[in-house]
Amino acid sequence: MSPLVYTRFELLRTVRNRRFFILSFGFPLVIYVLVAGSVKHVHDLDHTGLSGPLYFMIGWASFGTMNAMVACGARIAAERQAGWTRQLRISPLAPRAYFVTKVGTSYMMALITLVVLYLAGASFGVSLRAGGWLGMTGLILVGLIPFAALGVMLGHLFTPDSIGPAMGGGVALLGLLGGTFFPLTGHGFLPELAQYLPSRWLVQASRVGVGGHGWPAKGWIVIAAWTLLLSLAAIRAYRRDTGRV
């Protein structure tokens, strides 16, 4: 009697779902290769202090991993519609264990995406010390926590046929405003707004790679606040959905 077997089969299911599995990291990889190829020789992209291939490696890693995390919502929505969630609710598997499994699966996909993009980055000449790679990866994994909560929340608010636009649009918007696709420079409303978005701090994780500091206090606070907010919203959505008080 252990959720470990359940988790093992859940991972197996994810890998067997070929289209989902390959598109999850294939899509960011292809775009990265196209974008990074065009800025291969830029050493200081838009005064960010980062080389083109490094900046976009993290930009597209952010986009890919955000998607991987939020994708757990699609799987939850599908299992709700199939009635599988109800079947699990009359089993001893605790809801918490179910979500841990779902989020764990998302983290597996996120890690695969990171490794694939790191390899692509390395092929474009991104070279960092071991500490740089690790520090950057650590920050990204922490920065993804609010997106896991976002996925769980969306999974309980939307049906399988409406969650696609919600996820795609939401992640694209957060990515755009967070500087995933191109650097947000200068002053003004958008760069100011970006300071308060979790996606922006994912992209910022790349600074550790070049020996810069990780997040300032503001980054940690923004990530913590979004985690708290989205977790509460996810719990609320779950309770409303299942009629539990």
Binding site: L12, A82, G83, W84, R86, Q87, P92, A94, G243
Partner: protein
């Protein structure tokens, strides 16, 4: 620890377009350990809502549920309940065997996976992916998922609806084997024959209430043992119900169906008073007749009897 399942004063309403729908309006049911009980009633009687509350999937507006002395949530957490819900698909990208193993892993004392595959007749499709199964095969796998948990209480909500005749027979054979292990079984059905053939006891529900509760034989005895059916136009129902030995009258076009407490007395009196009666049939009343009788006693019973008749395809 109580050895019973107790539903006390259960009530549940849902919001509907024309105000609240009172799906369950005060249900009291006791089930002893080891009993097989049928929850019988037409569609919309409140069976599924009652089952959802028994399983802890729905919180009752009023009343309480106790499963062997525990709340439904505690019983579920202990793995004491296994259920086959009315609707539900399987998750994809696993083989049938893997899915059954996955479910078994969640329970404290599951049955052997191989045994369950054999019991439910799915060992031949054990290697197939769940998304490639037919509807009937899916039902068998869902039954296997309920059985593998080896629960104290097995709950089945209209389990045979999507099954063909052969699958249905296999299903009940398996369920009997499981009941013989001393397990408690509660199943919902609107097939009267199923309740009659496979339950120790039937709880009849209509319009959110329990209208009768007892051994199926007792329920039949309660409402007269036989019916007389005859073609007899132009005779008022009141005159017929006044005949000796008649407890109830139903009109179906030109035909009448008399429920009888004493069919011998009734047939003599009927022919004496109305010699034009023809096409006469005397039959033992099924549970279906009992059901119509019982729901007809209620003040709002006529509508319920009609609903019941519709549900039974009359």
């Amino acid at each position: 620890m109580s050895e019973r399942i107790e539903l006390r004063g259960l009530q549940k309403s849902f919001r509907g377009p024309q105000g609240p729908i009172r799906a369950v309006r005060g249900v009291d049911v006791d089930v002893a350990a080891g009993e097989t009980v049928a929850l019988l009633g037409p569609n919309g009687a409140g069976k599924s809502t009652t089952i959802d509350m028994l399983l802890g999937l729905l919180a009752p507006d009023a009343g309480s549920v106790s499963v062997f002395g525990r709340t439904p949530a505690a019983a579920v957490a202990d793995g004491a309940i296994g259920a086959m819900l009315q609707t539900g698909a399987l998750i994809r990208d696993l083989s049938v065997r893997e899915l059954v193993e996955m479910m078994a892993s969640l329970y404290p004392s599951p049955l052997a996976v191989r045994e369950v595959l054999a019991l439910t007749g799915i060992d031949e499709i054990a290697a197939q992916r769940t998304q490639k199964l037919s509807g009937g095969q899916t039902q068998r796998v869902r039954f296997a998922l309920a059985l593998v948990s080896n629960p104290e209480l097995l709950v089945l909500d209209e389990p045979t609806v999507a099954m063909d005749v052969e699958a249905r027979r296999d299903f009940w054979t398996t369920m009997r084997e499981f009941a013989a292990r001393g397990k408690t079984i509660l199943f919902a059905t609107h097939y009267l024959e199923e309740a009659d053939a496979y339950a120790d006891r039937a709880v009849l529900m209509a319009h959110g209430r329990v209208v009768a509760d007892g051994p199926t034989t007792e329920i039949k005895a309660m409402v007269g043992s036989r019916t007389i059916r005859a073609t007899l136009p132009d005779v008022e129902s009141e005159k017929l119900s006044a005949l000796p030995g008649v407890s109830g009258v139903q009109r179906r076009g030109e035909a009448v169906v008399l429920s009888c407490t004493d069919s011998d007395a009734a047939i003599r009196a009927l022919l004496a008073a109305h010699p034009q009666a023809r096409d006469i049939e005397i039959a033992a009343a099924g549970l279906e007749q009992a059901f119509l009788e019982l729901t007809a006693e209620d003040p709002s019973g006529e509508a319920e009897a009609e609903a019941a008749a519709r549900a039974f395809g009359r």
